[in-house]
């Protein structure tokens, strides 16, 4: 399992735990990173640039440190 997929799972857990609108938040994360969260799979390679963008977006939108 790739690091970036692990990040996706943590994000989804956080959204669920906080009771947020998943479509809204995932949409915003996708727009900020340029990658739809649904397209991140266990086989998605760990692109450092994408990881960095996702980390920043998760911190900004969910206050989640990855």
């Amino acid at each position: 399992m790739s690091q970036i997929y692990d990040m996706r799972l943590k994000i989804e857990e956080k959204i669920k735990a906080d009771g947020l609108n998943a479509m809204d938040i995932k949409g915003k994360l996708g727009l900020k990173t340029g990658k739809m969260l649904a397209l991140i799979t266990p086989t998605t390679p760990d692109d450092p640039d994408l990881i960095s963008k996702l980390r920043d977006a998760a911190k900004e939108l969910l206050n989640l440190s990855l």
Binding site: A22, M23, D24, I25, K26, G27, K28, L29, G30, L31, M36, L37, A38, L39, T41
Partner: protein, 388 residues
């Protein structure tokens, strides 16, 4: 890139328009107010001038009528020709008292040519025998007809009527002169208008000795030395009605508005117009002070209401424009952004509703078409198979 929403930019632009609108309205109202105040002040000067002219004409008419009646009095002519000053005074005194009650303060009888001297001053019997070097005297002697006008003499600055006294054969046997102190005019004018007046004379045209004598004759203080270039003949108020630098040449023929000033809650305008004597010399000036408090405060109230209404109207217009923009543009753009975001988040069901056929409506329609294409593409992505 600097990020400022269109809503903020529109709000700033409208606020600037609002401020400019209010400032412009205030400037316009201010100009209108100043213009009206100036017009009112000038009207006060003109009104006073007209009233002065009317009163002068009325008094000239009155004194001319008195002169005509007395000139034809055989008894007066007889007493005058007898040259008995005492008997003539006894005869005239009762009539003079009645005339004085009507405002005629001066009554002089002059001998005919070639001497033309004062035979009797009914209002000041102890002074007689002098030769007067005055314009009106010269004029009546020259024309042998009535001469009228304002002139300074021993008894003060007065509007005068001088007419020849003729016997039954039409021969001039002397001259009758009647006069009314101009100082009395300003009190009459005050009674009629409520305005305050001050009459001052240019020392250039006033004889120092005559002024002292006239002051003594009318039991008033000799105020010759109060001011360097002019002397105050009379005034109806002790306030700053006469505040003058002595520049008579600076007073225009139609009059000048000097200032607007405030005392407590009362607002006044002060103006001046020139006074000419019978020879046409600019011998003095009449100052007028009018209380314009009612007009002034009424205008100020109107000004305040107008500014408030303008500001309110502009503020409401701003709110209305913002509300329209919010409903027609911003809210619909927000809706499109929300749907677009959710599509990216995986919501492929929520469609964009086209609410109108306007520019935003066309964009909504276009974006909905784009969304459907996007959803169709996404349905064929292997990673998403079976997740919808």
């Amino acid at each position: 890139m600097k990020s400022t929403s269109i809503k903020t930019k529109v709000l700033v632009a409208l606020s600037i328009c609002l401020l400019l609108g209010v400032a412009g309205t205030m400037a316009l109202i201010r100009y209108s107010f100043e213009h009206n105040a100036r017009t009112l002040a000038m009207q006060s000067v003109n009104d006073s001038r007209k009233l002065f002219d009317i009163l002068t004409a009325r008094e000239v008419s009155k004194m001319t009528a008195v002169g005509v009646v007395l000139e034809e009095s055989a008894e007066l002519q007889k007493k005058f020709l007898e040259r008995d000053r005492g008997k003539l005074l006894d005869f005239c005194q009762p009539t003079y008292e009645r005339l004085k009650a009507q405002g005629i303060t001066n009554w002089v009888m002059h001998t005919p040519e070639p001497d033309v001297s004062v035979f009797l001053r009914v209002h000041n019997p102890s002074k007689y025998g002098d030769h007067l070097d005055r314009f009106l005297i010269k004029e009546v002697v020259r024309s042998h007809s009535v001469a009228t006008g304002s002139e300074l003499a021993k008894a003060g600055f007065a509007v005068r009527v001088i007419q020849p006294m003729k016997d039954v054969k039409g021969q001039v046997i002397g001259y009758l002169e009647f006069g009314e102190e101009l100082g009395q005019f300003i009190h009459t004018m005050k009674d009629q208008t409520g305005d305050n007046y001050g009459l001052l004379l240019n020392k250039k045209y006033v004889d120092r000795k005559l002024w002292t004598e006239s002051s003594a004759a009318w039991n008033r203080r000799d105020n010759w030395d109060d001011h360097p270039g002019y002397v105050v003949a009379d005034k109806t108020a002790a306030e700053r009605i006469i505040d003058f630098d002595g520049d008579f040449a600076g007073i225009s023929e139609s009059g000048n508005v000097l200032e607007r000033y405030r005392v407590g809650d009362a607002m006044y305008v002060r103006g001046v117009f020139p006074i000419r004597d019978a020879a046409g010399n600019p011998v003095g000036a009449m100052f007028v002070v009018r209380d314009i408090s009612d007009f002034y405060w009424s205008m100020r109230r109107t000004q305040t209401v107008l500014i408030a209404l303008t500001a309110l109207a502009l503020a409401l217009s701003t709110l209305l424009v913002l509300a329209i923009l919010q409903k027609l543009v911003f809210r619909r753009l927000d809706c499109i952004i929300t749907v677009a975001t959710r599509v990216v988040g995986g919501d492929y069901e929520t469609a964009i509703r086209t609410s109108s056929d306007d520019e935003i409506g066309q964009f909504e329609k276009l974006f909905e078409q784009f969304r459907r294409v996007f959803v169709d593409v996404m349905s064929n992505v292997p990673e998403l198979q079976g997740k919808r």
